[in-house]
C-alpha cells in the first residue's frame, strides 16, 4: 500500500471515530444554504441578479466555496492536534516524501469535499428547486478538487510555520472574515464600490466561487473565468510548493 493510500486510511479512521468532525465536514455548509440562503432570498431577494436567477441558486456556489474553505481550515488545524499528540514528528520519519504527506491528506479532503458537494447539491436541488447545469458538471467537480486542495495547502503553510495554536486560530478567524466577505461569495460584485470590487477581484475565493457559479448554474463571463481559473491554479501550486518547503526542518 502506497503512502497516499496509507494517509487516506489514517484520516478516514480518525474522522470516522468523531461525530463532530463528520457533522462539520458534511452538513455545516448545507445548513448555511438552508438558513442564511433561504432567509436572504425571502427577505431581501436578489435585485441585482439577472432576471430568473434567485438568491438560492446564486448562493449555492458560495456555499460550495465555503465548504472547501472549511475543510481546509479544519484539516490544517489537525497539524496542531498531531503536534500535541507527538505523532506529527513521528510521521515525518515514515517512508514517504513531504509532498506525499500533504497529498495524502488532500486526497482524503477531496473525498470529503465531493461527498459534501453531492449532499449540498442534492438537497439544494430537492428542497430549494435549484436547477443545475449538468453539462457543466466536470467544471464543478474540478473546482471542488482544486478548491479543496488549494485552501488546504494555503492554510497548511500557516499551520506549519506558526507553532502556536492560538495565533493560528487568530489568523484563520481574521482571514475567514476578510476572504469570505470581500469576495463574490455572498453578493454579486457589480453594485459594489470600486475599491471593494478591486479587492474582491484580487481574492482567490472570488476566483473559486466564480468557477463554482459557472459550473453549477452557468453564470459568469467565460473569458474572465479562464483568467480566474489560471490564477487559482497558480495560487494552488504556489501554496503547495511553500507548504512542502514548510514541512522541511519541522524537527
Amino acid at each position: 500500500m502506497g503512502p497516499l493510500a496509507a494517509m487516506v486510511y489514517r484520516e478516514t479512521k480518525i474522522r470516522s471515530t468523531n461525530v463532530t468532525f463528520l457533522f462539520f465536514d458534511l452538513f455545516y455548509p448545507l445548513l448555511y444554504l438552508l438558513v442564511f440562503g433561504v432567509g436572504v432570498n425571502a427577505a431581501l431577494g436578489a435585485p441585482s441578479l439577472p432576471a430568473g436567477l434567485d438568491y438560492n441558486s446564486f448562493f449555492l456556489a458560495g456555499v460550495l466555496g465555503m465548504a472547501t474553505f472549511g475543510i481546509a481550515t479544519n484539516s490544517s488545524w489537525s497539524f496542531f492536534l498531531d503536534r500535541d499528540n507527538g505523532i506529527f514528528l513521528e510521521m515525518l520519519t515514515y517512508p514517504m516524501r513531504r509532498s506525499e504527506y500533504l497529498l495524502g491528506k488532500v486526497l482524503f479532503n477531496i473525498c470529503i469535499g465531493i461527498l459534501q458537494a453531492v449532499i449540498t447539491i442534492a438537497l439544494g436541488c430537492a428542497l430549494l428547486k435549484i436547477r443545475l447545469e449538468w453539462r457543466l458538471l466536470p467544471i464543478l467537480v474540478a473546482t471542488v478538487i482544486g478548491g479543496t486542495a488549494a485552501w488546504f495547502f494555503f492554510y497548511s503553510v500557516f499551520a506549519l510555520r506558526i507553532r502556536r495554536n492560538d495565533v493560528f486560530n487568530g489568523v484563520v478567524n481574521v482571514s475567514y472574515f476578510v476572504l469570505l466577505f470581500a469576495s463574490s461569495m455572498f453578493y454579486p460584485l457589480a453594485p459594489l464600490p470600486a475599491w471593494f470590487r478591486a479587492a474582491a477581484l484580487a481574492n482567490p475565493i472570488t476566483w473559486e466561487v466564480d468557477l463554482f457559479r459557472y459550473g453549477s448554474i452557468g453564470y459568469g463571463e467565460p473569458r474572465q473565468l479562464l483568467l480566474e481559473a489560471i490564477a487559482f491554479a497558480l495560487f494552488a501550486l504556489a501554496s503547495f510548493a511553500i507548504a512542502v518547503r514548510s514541512l522541511r526542518d519541522q524537527g
Partner: protein
Amino acid sequence: MTQFALEVQDLVKVYDRRGRPPVRAVDGISFSVRRGDIFGLLGPNGAGKTTLLKVLTTLLRPTSGSLRMDGIDVVAQPLEARKRISMVLQETANELFLTVRDNLLTFARFHGLDSRLARARADSVMEKFQISSYAAQKVQDLSGGSRRRVQVSKVFMVDTPVVFLDEFSTGMDPILKRAVLGYLREESSKGRTIVLTTQILGEAEELCDDILIINHGKQVARGDLNALKLLSAGVYEISLTFAELPPAIDADIAALAPLRSRIDANTVEISLKVEEAKVLDIVSELSKKGRVLRVEVSGATLEDVFVELTKEG
C-alpha cells in the same frame, strides 16, 4: 555493501536564532555504527543528542557534513533513508483517537506491510507488550505508561534495518523495561542496528556494544564499555551502610572532594578518583564515624565515566 549501518562525518547543525547568536547544537561529530550493533548516544541535557538523532532520522537537515545510512546519502536521498528506519521519539507519540490495534496497523500501512502480515504482527506485538487487553480501546483512554508501551511496540511491527530510540524507557515500569531490553537484544542479534539515547546509564551499560558520549555538541569519548572505563582509571565507588547515619558525615564526604556522592537513609555512596592504595584508608576513616553494617568497593561505572567526562569546569 558497507559493514556500517551509519557513517557520520564532520556533522554540524547550527540553529540560527532571530536577534540572538546562533547555536551549534552539533559541532563536527564523526562516528560510524556497525550493522547489528546497539549504539548508545549519551550526554547531559542539552548536549545535542536529540538534535543529532533528528538529523539522522531526516527530521532536520544538517548545516554541513556527510551522513550515510546503508551507504545511502541521507541528505541527498532522505526518502531512501526513511525506508530504512523506525523511530521512538522522546515525547509520547500516538494516534490518540485510534484504538491500540489501529495504531499498530496504521504504522504498518505507512511502512508498506501487507495487511494480513500486519494483523498477525499486531497480535504478537500486543502480546509481547502486554497490551492485548486494550486492543480495542482508544489510546486517549489509556494511562501514560500504557501509551508509552503502544509507542515503543510500533517499532517491533516492522523490520527496518535501523531503529532509533530517544529515551525509550521513560515512563516504563521496571519489569517491562527489562523485557524490552531483552527484545532489543534479540532484534540486534537478528542484524537490526539500534541507536539509542538514554539518561539511564545503567541501561546503556547493560545494552550497548558501542557508546558515544557528547557534550556541547562535540564528541567527548567513544568506545565500548571497557574502553570507556579505562578513561576513568583510578575512579572507585565506595558504599557504606551505617547502623545509624553519623552526624556531620556530609562534611566528611565533602572534604574528600568526590566526583559524586549520595546519602540514602543510612547508606553513603561516594565516587572518588584516588590512588588504589588510598581507597582502604578512606574506607577505614569513614568506618570510624559509626557502626558499619556493610561495605562495598567497586571500580568505575559508566556513570562515573560520564560524570567525569561531562562535568563543567
